[in-house]
Symmetry: C2
Amino acid sequence: MKKVSLSDIARELGVSKTLVSLVLNGRGDEVGINKETQQRVVAMAEKMNYKPNLVARGLRLGASKTIGLVIPNIANPFFARIARVVEDEADKYGFRVMSVSSDEKPEKEISLIQVLLERQIDGLILATCLKGKEEIRSLKNDKIPFVLIDRHFPQVKTNYVVVDNRAGAFQVVDHLLRQGYRKIGLLKISPSHITPIRLRHQGYHDALKAHGIRYDKKLVKEIPFGSIDEVMEEALRELLQRPVNAEALFFLNNDLTVAGLNVIKKFGLRIPQDVAIVSFDDLQLFRLLYPPITAVAQPWREMGREAVRILMKEIEASRYPEEKEQIVLPPEIRIRKSSERF
Amino acid sequence: MKKVSLSDIARELGVSKTLVSLVLNGRGDEVGINKETQQRVVAMAEKMNYKPNLVARGLRLGASKTIGLVIPNIANPFFARIARVVEDEADKYGFRVMSVSSDEKPEKEISLIQVLLERQIDGLILATCLKGKEEIRSLKNDKIPFVLIDRHFPQVKTNYVVVDNRAGAFQVVDHLLRQGYRKIGLLKISPSHITPIRLRHQGYHDALKAHGIRYDKKLVKEIPFGSIDEVMEEALRELLQRPVNAEALFFLNNDLTVAGLNVIKKFGLRIPQDVAIVSFDDLQLFRLLYPPITAVAQPWREMGREAVRILMKEIEASRYPEEKEQIVLPPEIRIRKSSERF
DNA sequence: TGCCCTTTCTAAAACATTTTAGGTCGAAAA
DNA sequence: TTTTCGACCTAAAATGTTTTAGAAAGGGCA
């Protein structure tokens, strides 16, 4: 049972496939096809269960009506939620989404982007782990419309939608400091060149400074993306024991927070009596934990929506526009018991 | 800057595009193209930054090397994890995944499948919310290879990979009963025709029966997928107050559990002293809650992996095979404090 | 009668590939 | 000298669309 094509319908009716194409695309009246003929075509298409081949159309039209979404990991709830928003928003424009996970590996990301381009996607939304300017510039050379989300390169002129990472980190660390915590451990994720991590680190740094507290490298630990669970225990042991004796911990993303909470539970420590906790990125269950976890909530809905809007604008503009949209969204600090002074 | 095609390379080198195509597909030696010519082609392709157009290739070859993944919601961690596994496994076969969320709406799912087919996907993995036989049969008529996951239709001969929902529910309810709980509230999700929900309900029912306890309809509540948060509070109020007075609650999926926990916290009830809790589907954070939540863990990794394996087997088999693979995986019961007798 | 205009439709090109069925040319064999 | 063979390469078709350019037929008008 082969698939039904325009030609099949045309042959069956003894007309040209041009006519069939025109009618099925609703241009029948416009080009003056006899009403009755139009009806016959529609009826026959129906009867033969015709489905247009969008691949062929895409080839002819040079547009696939598909966008690519490159993220570190679809299994991370932050990105899963964004993926959902992107899917819904793109749908409004008649676009499908192909999403791929880079695992924070630049080489993998490059090859994924390559594959997406070969598949003739019309645009890209990227939470990129690329190191920098060069690689992003090569995208610009491809003249493919794209929007960066979550992570951006201030030095390169691109569209982006990000959250104010520095401000979020600053506020939550400032909060800890006001509660009287002094020794605040910082847990970073390891490809640490990515902007949000750098900026959150910066916010931490600035908050300390604003309170006149010395920045201490010994309080900062870096955990590799691929082996969070394995490394976290050792990192926390070092942070929480002598000589460091951290009183509070700031986890820079939700993966770290979850892993950290596991270890803290294993150590049998009480939050916040033994150690206070704050997290960048809020998860639905954080407010149900005991105690609830203070977190910087990110506006994922807006991030996804804006990214799609900008991308569609650029795709629909026939020329590749020079001006780029750059959006920085405010985070929301959700103070909960995990960071209270006991 | 237009995209570079085979013809461009051919023209540049003064050879035919046939030759270029053969060389770039690694068939140069096989068909006896001069080594030196081969090198010139490869070098020129490199120089011109040639990227094959997979859409054109797909059109010619009648295969898109893309599969569709239809799930209720990519933002649900259970499905997000499956999506990740499917992505990784499909990649091993050189396939990309297009995933779409149906929101448990059959009409939406039908239209999504339609669109995926128009895009010439080579196969489908479905966690379907379709009502039944008819609609699935129409897929079979399309002769498109597909595998059902999570949800299946025992009466229809299809590939599927599911978990033993009845057994999982039976065991966890049996556990509650052994702890001495008698009045066990059941929270179902609302398009309740889908098999896992029916079978989990069945398991609940069977466990009660095995303990000689009367099944009481008043203990069963149905929550619509689209408005879980809104409806949960009222449902729990009815279950936990007189005259029902449920002593324990069994949530049939993770969305329900999370929503339920929110309400229980709001009511200020203690777990398990005031109400014991068990969940079908385990989330990473359940073991960190206070108290940790007893849950039926699903083998999502195997589910994704097997689904892809079966699908690839069917795609690669030239004929549409008659025999179907049907896999039922065992769940794992994780007993935690939320279901202890206090 | 010849011309032009409408109405209704179509042939062919184009998109970028892969594949089929050859073609050319020089050298070796007969 | 002709044939054959091998090495190397190519023209054209095919995939399923959309679009461009124009054709056929019939009627009105000078």
